[in-house]
Symmetry: C2
Subunit: 452 residues, 2 copies
């Protein structure tokens, strides 16, 4: 029945998703403020058409939050669906094979910024809800909370959650913003890393200098910054910030073995990324490095002359954006403080250093022994024909820790993307099959969860 409904409506589902993908709702770029709102309005209207009791935009100092609900019966269990309608900046634009905000289907995949992260996955929930309403199979209550600031740190969501605990009262959170291992190996994310993201500025002389006249006598902020960044890892790939690992939850060998049982082929991984060797913390496998270990990456660096040709400048300033992925028990604010203190301490006297915290979020582990997790497992098994594997994901969804803290609620991370979907990168895509099977799996989850 649900299969039929999806099949006969799939073209319309895709057309509607394409309309949403065409809106460049880049939350990090203030020039797109109106577009971000447009995406929120679009979702609100689609939720109303699908049959919610009410839908509204909650204003924030940043971008609005879409809230909607359908209360079938207050005595039934309530599912709170969280997602986000904002997207990452599309840069570098020149590497896209088709424009980021003009979705196209190629080889069964939808190419567009946000196709997987997270508009495509959010829209599965809207259409799953529509299907249950049309087929009259909805046997629980649903609340939707779709924000527009996930890609910039969900800054205003916390206040919204704190101020609306009654409104958001539910039994479980359901989020689709993660990845499956493959369609043959369905998986459910049982852990997520936290994040501490900073920007650093190194200032040498008070103006750009001629590198011939001053080179060798005045500290070059790019050279200094490079040296400071280089010193943040030791020869074993460990982060050198004092105290960085102090609170890291160390897993038992049994837990590590379980993680390494997930289907993973290092040769294919390297081949798919075009690399000859992986690189990371000594003593850990690739799955452990991305799943259970904290890391530090420079996400951007700039300084001096970066145009065509040669300019012999000794620049006044150099900058970097640096983020740390955190694991359970590491507090992101504490880590940001440790980073800041350490980074300032290693600066030579010849430069001035400024560290600005950009955003952060806590790591989270979701229980695998709950009714909700079992319902999700059953749903995957029903649709994919195979029980899903619990995995630890490297990415961060800070809201998961926030929900636990403020609402006391656990989350089920039922994501349908692939790691290879190029989210945050040029040519982001999302499988049409993933989109349609996702809708079916969500409907199945509601069914199994309502049985409890």
């Amino acid at each position: 029945m649900i299969k039929n409904y999806i099949e006969s409506n799939q073209q319309r589902f895709l057309d509607e998703l394409f309309d949403l993908l065409r809106i460049p709702s880049v939350s990090a770029d203030s020039r797109h403020k109106a577009d971000v709102r447009k995406a929120a309005e679009y979702l609100k209207n689609k939720l109303i058409e699908a049959g919610v009791d009410k839908a509204e935009l909650h204003e924030t100092p940043g971008h609005p939050i879409v809230y909607a609900e359908k209360i079938v019966n207050p005595s039934l269990p309530t599912i709170l669906v969280y997602g986000h309608y904002d997207v990452q900046p599309p840069d570098p634009l020149n590497l896209w094979e088709s424009p980021p905000f003009e979705p196209v289907i190629k080889d069964g995949k939808i190419y567009a910024r946000g196709s997987c992260d997270d508009k495509g996955q959010v829209y599965m929930h809207v259409k799953a809800f529509e299907a249950m309403m049309k087929l009259k199979t909805l046997t629980c209550n649903v609340k939707f909370m779709i924000e527009g600031e996930e890609e910039v740190g969900s800054e205003n969501l916390e206040n919204f959650v704190k101020a609306n605990k009654e409104k958001l009262k539910s039994d479980i959170i359901l989020i689709s913003d993660t990845a499956l291992i493959s369609l043959e190996h369905p998986s459910i994310t049982a852990g997520l890393r936290g994040l501490s993201y900073v920007e650093v500025e190194v200032t040498g002389p008070n103006r750009d200098l001629h590198s011939g006249v001053y080179g060798g006598a005045v500290a070059n902020p790019i050279n200094v910054l490079s040296k400071m960044i280089a010193s943040l890892h030791d020869e074993n790939g460990r982060v050198t910030i004092p105290g960085f690992y102090d609170k890291v939850a160390e897993l038992s060998q049994a837990e590590r073995d379980a993680i390494n049982k997930a289907p993973f082929n290092l040769d294919n991984y390297k081949k798919e990324l075009g690399i000859v060797e992986v690189q990371g913390e000594k003593g850990y496998t690739t799955l452990e490095r991305t799943g259970i270990r904290p890391t530090l990456d420079v996400n951007g660096i700039w300084g001096g002359y970066t145009g065509e040709g040669a300019k012999t400048v000794l620049p006044s300033k150099a900058y970097a954006k640096i983020s740390m992925r955190l694991v359970p028990n590491q507090n992101n604010q504490e880590i940001t403080q440790l980073f800041t203190r350490h980074f300032l301490s290693i600066a030579p006297k010849s430069v001035q250093v400024k560290v600005t915290a950009l955003h952060g979020g806590e790591a989270a582990v979701t229980p695998t022994d709950s009714d909700a997790f079992r319902a999700a497992s059953a749903a995957f098994k029903e649709v994919f024909g195979k029980a899903p594997i619990p995995t630890r994901d490297g990415g961060s969804i800070p809201i998961v820790a926030l929900f636990k803290k403020e609402l006391g609620l656990d989350t089920v991370l039922m994501g349908f993307g692939f790691d290879s979907d190029a989210i945050h990168s040029p040519n982001e895509h999302y499988g049409v099959k993933n989109f349609l099977m996702g809708i079916e799996t969500i409907v199945s989850f509601y069914k199994h969860y309502s049985k409890n």
Copy 2:
């Protein structure tokens, strides 16, 4: 007589220079190709107006070379004036207090890109020549060779010089493209550093990745590049490239003492640059570090996300522009090879590295015991009231070594800028006084040199 001429014509001299400064002849930027030619045409016409026998543009695969000459009598000595009419890119534009190509005079200084380097200094020669023609005091022959590719490595000048040895036959080269210590302490540059300039590209994965999903398991090209750059200097500030110092001409203590006798106040130097400490090769003074020691500076670096806000990308590529200043006996092509070999050798297997040589030039030392140097000294003494100090400059004018090699000619570096003129930087400027005294000194040089 010359003083009167300069005084009564100074407004016109400045107006004409301003017209030249308004032409954005940025040789590194192909969008300015027509502007570069316009500056060449302007100079050619002004040389004709000033009274040369002939003036012409020599076409090259890049930008044209302005050649002009006035042969008073073939039996008289001939001075070959070299300079360049191209300028550095004006970036970063937002740091200019007035637009780079709209010259203005503030506090007695002309603010514009190229005001000092080198249009302002080239134009002194055109006006000095005009004055001598008008006053009928020119008692030697003059040839002008003003190129448009100095800021991008003078690539086509070498062929021009090789192909026109007869045309360029002269007794001495005169160049104004360097700096004075101050108006109170006139100086003549007796040594210049060479240059090797490369661009490096570090490639990790074949596409930008989500740093949450892949961070910690895949080599980040920015982190790797930072580490590679950091390793290029040891703890004593020495360059670690094997063989880098092998051919460096080591100076005697007496020579070093002479260099350190130049008026120099470290506190003022630091104050003027807004820095707390200088930084450089251990065991050398600031004047030695910029004058007689080779160095390595990163002139630009870029990679990953550099826009507003936070983007958690693990980029595919990172880049840097790196230049080395060289001293006598170091060969720039050899140094470029040593750099390339070393840089490739220190790359971890997890990345691919590409090194592209952008340009280079040899270091040069000019003799201080020649007739020409003595004439220059006498000219400074006449106009500034004080004998000039011979100095070693950190910058590079590769043409000096080329002239020696191809034409067998020595050069007199009679520059009138200041190190603080912010050449290659925002708010480049040049003192009106420097400009006018420069014209007078050049005329005096001709007088003294012709006496020989």
